[in-house]
Amino acid sequence: MRNLFNGAKAPADLFVIRPATVLFFILFLGWCGPLLGQEVGAVSVRTLKAAEDQSPFVMAGFTEKDVPARYAAGKPVAENTGAVPEKPDVKAAPGGASDDEYGDVTPEELGIGPKAGKTSDEYGDVVSDTGEGLEAKETYDPIRPFNTAMYHFNDKVYYWAWKPVSTGYKYVVPHEVRGIILNFYENLKAPMRIINNLLQGDMEHAGTEFASLLINLTLGVGGLKNCAQDCFGIQRDYADFGQTLGKWGFGYGFYVVLPFLGPSDVRDGIGLLFDWPLRPTSYLGDEFFNEYNVGLYIHEKINYTSFHLGEYEALQNASADPYVAMREIYLQYRDNLIRKR
């Protein structure tokens, strides 16, 4: 402060203060930014969702009173709008007959409430595809035979190599150490996140990432500790080049299962290649892909997997078709990263 007021005295003095001011400003941005961002973000997401989530029912102008009965075929609701069930269910048509049948099952099973009459409609026909509209996008999977083959290949790789190695690793390396390694690798990827946030025109998130990096390099002992989050509550803001391309308006092309790397798509596959040089580890050795940087990448993934063992198995158990489940989850997750951030 003193220097600022004694301006006449010293351009040199001013010069001294500048980097510190800049640093403070960055820290300030990092500190207040996320808080501000949340509030601002809240408004925009809300408006976005409110606009997109208009369900067919609201648009059709149903009143609240119509809604409970809307799934039952042949109810006034359907007639009002002229929306006829696409495939009228012949077998279920004598719905009255099954009323008593439902009477026993539903109220106790589902605790719907006292209105027995309403519960009888529970298993009635639906009037339309009752999606939220948000996720109901067309899936492009033209190279499905290749993808399916790769899916089975990766599945074998997981069960025969990846899982045993990660399990052994988890057993040998203590939890705390794995946590430190996780932080270290994540911190190393800060350039990737900063540059992609910048490319997306997201100065605020680039700022928080930069603040995170500075804090973790200093107070976090060179990135061993995620002090930005633990000490200051600054959240990382993930960004990669596939996401950047998405924000620029590129579609995902089509779904691709990469050998070893797993689910991806055309856009994110290209993104992976662009992000590789943004990882400092890529500069180990003479070539972009060599035993050092690829080795470190594998170690990073094993370390990561050691925290997530059992998730792939759970996904498989919870799916009627694990291949399709994985594809949908991947595409929706990526879409969410692009649209909602």
């Binding site: 403070f24 300030f28 207040c32 808080l35 501000l36 509030e39 809240a42 809300r46 969702k49 409110a50 989530d53 369900s55 609201v58 149903f62 609240e64 809604v67 799934y71 075929a73 069930p85 696409e86 495939k87 009228p88 269910d89 077998k91 279920a92 099952v105 539903t106 099973e109 589902l110 605790g111 719907i112 409430g113 529970e122 298993y123 026909d125 639906v126 339309s128 595809d129 009752t130 999606g131 939220e132 948000l134 109901a136 925290f307 059992g310 759970a314 158990n317 919870a318 799916s319 009627a320 078709d321 399709v324 594809r327 949908e328 989850i329 929706q332 997750y333 879409d335 969410n336 909602k340």
Partner: protein
């Protein structure tokens, strides 16, 4: 100066924050159920493998109260629901519920130290809302949103959106794939086989 500005902004944010945290009855309902699950998970009497079974049973009771499996099934099947006979619909609901229960209860009982923040309630339609939460563990923050609709006097959850991935939407594609070339019975058989295989 900057510090003061920062402090001022924070005060402003604290003052404004409640405007965005309008918790409605749906949030209260979801919150009550989620809190109940967390209480079960943290119950010291149910620690260890011996308590696992009891834990699972208690969580299942809460889940039955929380979810509307019929609504969930309808939304998952979409118009394909109409191709099922009433008996098939009932069996489907039971099998689907069983599959979700077996998987998720097993995953949930693995947790103990998570904290759940209820961030926002977002209106979707006249009688449905999205209750947004963030599950905070030592290593990650996972946004989990519950979509609930009003049934009588209660709010029932019919979809769960984890990190932008909707449960209903995910299963809808899987089932549509199967039902595209096969009769409803094939899907029911697939789920049955799944159930037999997991036991």
């Amino acid at each position: 100066m900057l510090k003061r500005l920062c402090a001022g902004l924070m005060v402003l944010i604290v003052v404004l924050a409640p405007m965005y945290l309008v918790a409605g009855p749906a949030t209260d309902s979801v919150k009550a159920n989620v809190t109940a699950v967390i209480d079960v998970l943290k119950d010291p009497k149910l620690k260890g493998p011996a308590g696992k079974k009891a834990k699972e049973q208690k969580i299942e009771v809460i889940a039955d109260r929380m979810f509307d499996y019929v609504e969930l099934s309808k939304r998952t099947l979409g118009l394909n629901w109409n191709k099922f006979t009433v008996d098939q619909r009932k069996e489907f609901v039971e099998l689907f519920k069983g599959m979700l229960r077996d998987t998720y209860i097993d995953r949930i009982t693995a947790y103990s130290n998570e904290q759940v923040n209820f961030t926002k309630e977002l209106p979707l339609t006249e009688n449905s809302v999205e209750v947004q939460t963030v599950v905070i563990s030592s290593s990650a923050r996972t946004p989990i949103n519950y979509r609930a609709m009003k049934k009588g006097n209660e709010w029932k959850v019919y979809d769960v959106v984890i990190e932008g991935v909707s449960l209903v939407s995910n299963y809808r594609t899987q089932f549509r794939d199967i039902l595209g070339n096969n009769p409803p019975q094939t899907l029911i058989d697939t789920l049955r086989k799944k159930k037999a295989g997991s036991k």
